[in-house]
C-alpha cells in the first residue's frame, strides 16, 4: 500500500489527481492558453469521480473489506470514545497482575448518563503499536475488561464494548498467564452479566480474541469491518497451503458484516462514510453514537433477569444444523 491507497482505489486516485492538477494554477494557465473552459470540464469529472467512488466502495469484496478493516488510518476505539462520550475517565489494570494496554476502558458519560466502556486498542505509530501489542490482548487484557464489566453490573450501568483485534496474543506470556481461561471466563460471564451490553465491531473482529469482548445484547458491525473465526491468511494456509490465496479464503469465510447479519449473528450494519470510516471519523462517530444511544435506551428499560434470559436465548440460537 503506497500513500494509504489500495489497489482497488487506483481509479479513484487517478481521477482525483487529474482534477487536482486541472485545478492547480499551472492547469488553469494551460487551459487558458489552449482556450478550454476548465470549469465546464471539471464539473462532469467530479460527478464521474463520485460515481466511481460509489461503484467501488459499495461493491468491495470480502478481501477488500479485510484491507479496509485493517487500514492504517482506520479510527480505533479511543478515537470513537473521545468523540462519542461527553466525558471519559480511563481506568487501568486487571487487579491481578498487570495492565494490558491492548485493552482500554473506563467510566464514560453518554448523553449525560453514566456508562462503562471497554475497547480493544491498536496503536497508531510503531511505539504505540508495541505498547499495545498490536491490539492483541493477553490474559490481563481480557481480565481488565471483565473487571470493568463486573463494575458495570455492580452499579447497574450499561456496558459499551468496541472490538478491533487481529486476535488474542498467542505468545509465551499469554499462554503462561492463561489467555484461554481469560477468554472463556469472559464468554461465560458476559453471557450472564446483569447489565445491558452493546458491542460494536469497528475494524477487525479476529476470532476468539474478538469474541472475548463481543458477547452482548446487541452486536453491531461497521460496514467495512470484518468478523471471522480465522484470518483469511490462516485459512488459506490451511486450505491451500498458500497464504497468497487470502482473497479466496476471505470470500469462503464470508467474513463481512453482511455475512454475519445473514447468519443472524449480529443485529445491525452501520454505514460508513464513502471511502471508509477514516475519511470522516466525526461522521462515523455520530452514526455510531446514535445507534449505541438507541440500543442503550431500549435495553435499560428491560429488567436485568429478563435481559439475561433474552441474551442467553440469543446466544443459544447461534448455529445452523440439521435434525433428523
Amino acid at each position: 500500500m503506497l500513500n494509504n491507497t489500495f489497489e482497488f482505489e487506483k481509479p479513484i486516485e487517478e481521477l482525483e489527481s487529474l482534477i487536482v492538477s486541472l485545478k492547480s494554477p499551472e492547469g488553469r494557465a494551460k487551459a487558458e492558453v489552449e482556450g478550454i473552459a476548465l470549469d465546464e470540464a471539471i464539473g462532469p469529472l467530479e460527478a464521474q469521480l463520485q460515481l466511481v467512488k460509489e461503484q467501488i466502495y459499495n461493491n468491495l469484496s470480502a478481501w477488500e473489506k479485510t484491507q479496509m478493516a485493517r487500514h492504517k488510518d482506520r479510527p480505533y476505539s479511543l478515537d470513537y470514545i473521545r468523540i462519542i462520550f461527553d466525558e471519559f475517565l480511563e481506568l487501568s489494570g486487571d487487579r491481578l497482575a498487570s495492565d494490558d494496554e491492548a485493552v482500554v476502558g473506563g467510566l464514560a458519560v453518554l448523553n449525560g448518563e453514566s456508562v462503562v466502556v471497554i475497547g480493544q486498542q491498536k496503536g497508531r505509530d510503531l511505539r504505540e503499536r508495541q505498547k499495545r501489542n498490536f491490539g492483541s490482548a493477553r490474559a490481563e487484557g481480557f481480565r481488565k475488561a471483565l473487571r470493568l464489566a463486573k463494575m458495570a453490573e455492580k452499579f447497574g450501568l450499561p456496558l459499551i464494548s468496541f472490538v478491533d483485534t487481529a486476535g488474542a496474543a498467542a505468545d509465551l506470556r499469554a499462554e503462561e498467564h492463561g489467555v484461554s481461561e481469560a477468554i472463556a471466563r469472559n464468554l461465560r460471564d458476559f453471557a450472564l452479566l446483569k447489565s445491558p451490553i452493546v458491542v460494536t465491531v469497528i475494524g477487525e473482529g479476529g476470532s476468539g480474541g474478538a469474541l472475548g469482548m463481543a458477547v452482548g445484547d446487541r452486536v453491531l458491525m461497521l460496514e467495512h469491518s470484518i468478523y471471522s473465526v480465522i484470518s483469511p491468511e490462516g485459512c488459506a494456509a490451511i486450505l491451500w497451503r498458500d497464504k497468497a490465496k487470502a482473497d479466496e479464503a476471505a470470500q469462503a469465510l464470508n467474513l463481512t458484516a453482511e455475512g454475519a447479519k445473514k447468519n443472524g449473528l449480529i443485529d445491525q450494519i452501520l454505514p460508513e462514510p464513502l471511502g471508509g470510516a477514516h475519511k470522516d471519523v466525526v461522521a462515523m462517530a455520530a452514526t455510531l453514537k446514535a445507534a449505541i444511544t438507541e440500543y442503550v435506551t431500549e435495553l435499560k428499560n428491560i429488567e436485568p433477569e429478563k435481559l439475561v434470559e433474552q441474551r442467553y436465548k440469543r446466544i443459544r440460537g447461534f448455529g445452523q444444523y440439521g435434525e433428523n
Binding site: V179, A184, V229, G259, R316, G319, Q320
Partner: protein
C-alpha cells in the same frame, strides 16, 4: 479400586497405527517401541515402555470410562450442514462420517461411572480433528442444560483442534454458546468436570474446556491456545520444551490434576462421590435418572 472390568474389556479397539501387521503388533507414536497390540490395548493404548498416551476415539474412551453397557447416546440425530457452501466441507463431512466411529466430533449421552449417573460428552478427534461446529456446540450446550435440568454432574472429555473453520463465524459462536451453557451450570451449582485429552487447543480450550469446576488432563497432552507453531513465531527458541502441554498448563495453574489414563475413571468416581452424586444401578435408572 472397587470397579471391575476396567482392564478386562473384550471389545476390539481399532485404528491401529499404519505400517505394521494389523492386529498383532503396533508402534508407539512417541518412542517407536514395537508393542504387541494385545498388551497395548490392555494398557488402554498407553505405551508400556514410555507411558505415552495415544489418542482414543469416542467409543474407545466411553468403553474404558463408564460402567459396562451403561452408556445411552443422545442428540445423535443432529447433523452438520454446510451453511457457507465452504470449499470441500461436504466432502470432508462425508469422509469423516464414513471413516470415524462417531457421527460427529462429539458424542453425548448418559452413563454411570462406578454407579454414579452423569451426563457425558466425549470429543472424537478422528472426526474432522474434533473441531467445534454448530452441531458440536449444540450437543454440548444441550448436554449441559440436561445436567442443570436433571441435576446431574456433567463430564466432558475434550480433544479438538478448535473451532470448525468450514462453518465460519457460526462456529466461532459455539464458543459463546458452550460457555454460556457452562455459566448456567455454574449458577445452578451443577458440577462440570473437564478432562483434557490430546490435543485440546484453540477455540475449544478457550471456551467450555477452561470452565470446569474441576479440570483434569491426561499426561503429555497438547493443551494450548494457538498451537505451538502459531504461537512460537516470534518467541523462537525461548519456548520451554513442555510449552502447551498438560504439564505446562498444570505448572501455570490452569489444570487441577494430571491423571494417568488407568486412574481416570476412579478419580472421576471420587469426584462424583465428593459432590454428593447418588449411586444408581439399573440401566433403566440411568436413562431416566433425575
Amino acid at each position: 479400586m472397587a470397579r471391575g472390568g476396567w482392564f478386562g474389556r473384550k471389545r476390539k479397539l481399532d485404528n491401529a497405527p499404519e505400517g505394521v501387521p494389523e492386529g498383532f503388533a503396533t508402534k508407539c507414536a512417541s518412542c517407536s517401541q514395537i508393542l504387541f497390540v494385545r498388551d497395548f490395548e490392555r494398557n488402554l493404548k498407553v505405551c508400556t515402555k514410555c507411558g505415552y498416551h495415544h489418542r482414543l476415539n469416542a467409543r474407545e474412551r466411553i468403553d474404558i470410562t463408564v460402567d459396562e453397557d451403561s452408556f445411552v447416546e443422545s442428540y445423535s440425530n443432529l447433523f452438520s450442514q454446510d451453511p457457507l457452501k465452504f470449499p470441500e466441507y461436504q466432502e470432508k463431512l462425508h469422509k469423516a462420517r464414513n471413516t470415524s466411529t462417531s457421527s460427529e466430533a462429539v458424542v453425548t449421552g448418559r452413563a454411570t461411572i462406578d454407579g454414579f449417573p452423569v451426563v457425558l460428552g466425549v470429543a472424537d478427534f478422528s472426526f474432522m480433528g474434533g473441531s467445534m461446529g454448530s452441531v458440536v456446540g449444540e450437543k454440548i450446550a444441550r448436554a449441559m442444560e440436561e445436567g442443570v435440568r436433571d441435576r446431574l454432574p456433567v463430564i466432558m472429555f475434550t480433544a479438538s483442534g478448535g473451532a470448525r473453520m468450514q462453518e465460519g463465524l457460526l462456529s466461532l459462536m459455539q464458543m459463546a454458546k458452550t460457555s454460556a451453557a457452562a455459566g448456567k451450570m455454574n449458577e445452578a451449582a451443577i458440577p462440570l468436570i473437564i478432562v483434557l485429552t490430546d490435543p485440546t487447543t484453540g477455540g475449544t480450550y478457550a471456551s467450555y474446556a477452561c470452565l470446569g469446576d474441576i479440570i483434569l488432563a491426561e499426561p503429555e497432552a497438547i493443551i494450548g491456545f494457538a498451537g505451538r507453531r502459531v504461537g512460537n513465531q516470534d518467541a523462537g527458541a525461548k519456548l520451554p520444551d513442555n510449552f502447551q502441554t498438560s504439564e505446562f498448563q498444570h505448572e501455570h495453574g490452569m489444570i487441577d490434576r494430571i491423571v494417568p489414563r488407568r486412574d481416570l475413571a476412579a478419580t472421576l468416581a471420587s469426584i462424583l462421590q465428593f459432590f454428593g452424586t447418588k449411586r444408581i444401578t439399573s440401566a433403566e435408572e440411568v436413562a431416566h435418572a433425575e
